[in-house]
Subunit: 427 residues, 2 copies
Amino acid sequence: MSEGFFLKGNICHTPSLGSLVIAEDSYLLCMDGRCEGIFSEIPAQYAEYPVKDTGGCLIIPGLVDMHIHAPQFSYRGLGMDCELLEWLYKYAYPEESKYADLSYADKAYGIFAKTLAATATTRAVVFATVHREATLRLMDIMEKTGMVSCIGKVNMDRDAPDGLRETDADSAAADTLAFVTQALERGYRNTYPIITPRFIPSCTDTLLQKISEIRKRFDLPVQSHLSENPDEVEMVRKLVPEAAFYGDAYDRVGLFGGDSRTVMAHCIYSTEEEIALMKQNGVWVAHCPDCNMNVSSGIAPIRRYLGKGLRVGLGTDVAGGHTESMFRAVTAAIQVSKLYWRLVNQGSEPLSFPESLYLATKGGGSFFGQVGSFEDGYEFDAVVLDDSVLPHPQPLTVQERLERAFYLGLDRNGIRSKYVRGNQIFR
Amino acid sequence: MSEGFFLKGNICHTPSLGSLVIAEDSYLLCMDGRCEGIFSEIPAQYAEYPVKDTGGCLIIPGLVDMHIHAPQFSYRGLGMDCELLEWLYKYAYPEESKYADLSYADKAYGIFAKTLAATATTRAVVFATVHREATLRLMDIMEKTGMVSCIGKVNMDRDAPDGLRETDADSAAADTLAFVTQALERGYRNTYPIITPRFIPSCTDTLLQKISEIRKRFDLPVQSHLSENPDEVEMVRKLVPEAAFYGDAYDRVGLFGGDSRTVMAHCIYSTEEEIALMKQNGVWVAHCPDCNMNVSSGIAPIRRYLGKGLRVGLGTDVAGGHTESMFRAVTAAIQVSKLYWRLVNQGSEPLSFPESLYLATKGGGSFFGQVGSFEDGYEFDAVVLDDSVLPHPQPLTVQERLERAFYLGLDRNGIRSKYVRGNQIFR
């Protein structure tokens, strides 16, 4: 793309937390894959650029899923009858074991990628499994969708079933190095490797140190889980007694922000010290409200994190979360914030719709750079929503149409087109 | 219908709380609108009956929505930024005012009925507005769908905005009598009037007494709201100081179960006394988890109610609830029960999927008689679900397919047909 074009419609975005900026019946300029202005009329100097008129559709930034497990996609919506640690052994690990079989991986990841491509998600931070080859296949498949993703081969060298537990730290690190090298060699345009220790219970200190070195050598980002469940937090305390708190077990080996761009899923039970370190190191929080309900984990204190200036995005966390819909993540985050207010702390104001939308776009988007907003210079990731499939008897404002689109799950049947970095990748 | 037919497929139902009975690749016999047996092979004496083969689809009982506001359907998914009492004045009452205009009512109720007919809901207990004519129009429209519903003209003679507040108890009662008489005169087959005091804050004792007399005269059921929000409960305490508790304000005038078949929505803040009276009088609880989140009300202690043997069904409560999907009500009830366990009472075991499905079928169905199960003699309300639209790489059991269908909202795009009282009413 070296030329510009306009997308015309009702342009909605959240340049700052809590603001919802709407430009009705306006023109959004894309130039070389980036946003270059919102105009009520086409400026004379751009008169030759083509206009894609959406016919009054809603135009929103692409949504950023900060936490999703690709291999678990096959059993989303199943096995919602236990807490995290039991759930891993009963459902997650048996399914993940199957990805040693590349034909199974191709089939399952093909379904995953095809489904995700049809959603409003434009970027995702993705867990694969411990299997290097299958993870590279996932990267091949995701690259073809045109979406942008960070994809990690998972590391786990303790407390995992046979077949998923890596033999030892040395071979696991060697395999991870091979994964990173091969992923980079493939020259993807939109698909990036990410260092992915599953979580502290399943990684020895030695392995963490070794993959931290790989991370540093290639300047890679990091994803993992943090303070999701009380039993898990207690397990970490026993396994790593020298760590002052859960996050410190990552920080001691250089895998908790700072130089490394790091996202941690959940953060429900983070202590004051842990929160302070996340703030200091610029760690992103991936808030996954549906998963936090489904495996009975609790509710993350997102208002508190926002008040402290932490970086926060939203994740679907398939398959602890049952759906890949980021629209649902937006409304679920609002719903649980209301229950948190009611049941836990009435000083914690519920999230508004514009706030939750911010988290799902610019909040998580910042992990990828200038992403998740239509401000000048931001990468042109956009979703066009046709809400004419939802009849209504009364006039609605654009803001009302937008809120309704999210609550009613219009990402299922109302996406007319999707752009990533200025390229139309869907319909 | 005076003949029989078989529906063939994977038959799933919950004859008792917590049980999920599955008859794979079997035949469900419908005779004169009622279930007459599940067979693995067609018995010789029924050999001449036609078989409708669903080709491996899931066959479940029709779902019963125990609480939905038809006039609020037009703004579902909007205005989720306040608590109940503010929400009523800011969103609900302004919209309900519009139904004085019959052309608006026809249009809005037409959309409501058409949408509901395409869901898995077969029966519903419905609030209309104070407007008699518009409510009768709603009954006309719902009757045409073939669904079964109880529909109430709302009563409110205090604490309501001009235009919605009935002038006085006498005229309100006269209007209600006219509504009931006219509704009965129309000779509907599937549509029934129900006495509908909005809630105690909006009804004087005098009006309650008068509509209780109408109820008794015509032996009608009753629907209302109960103990939804702390401010509402406190308001009732001040308005009716002579009532021992909220529910007693209904019971004192004969509108709280006993002789009257009564359903009360929400019941989040019910006291021990109130629970005991609900049990004694056989009052149904309409549990509406999405609404309870959206207007920040809290979580109803459903496990406790079930333990005490109360009658419990599920409601979408559109538009405090944002969606008409009873599939979502089933999964939302499970989700909030997990948060209740985690945040409120770890002695309160979360609802299982079979339990929540029971509430949505036989639990609420009992309000309509022998409804919500495929046991012999039950009315033949059935939904045929085609989950082939959800690809997956691995084999799934019928139970897994069923659970997944609910979590992934297959009611949006997977309903192949729907039967009410043995009549196919959709597709």
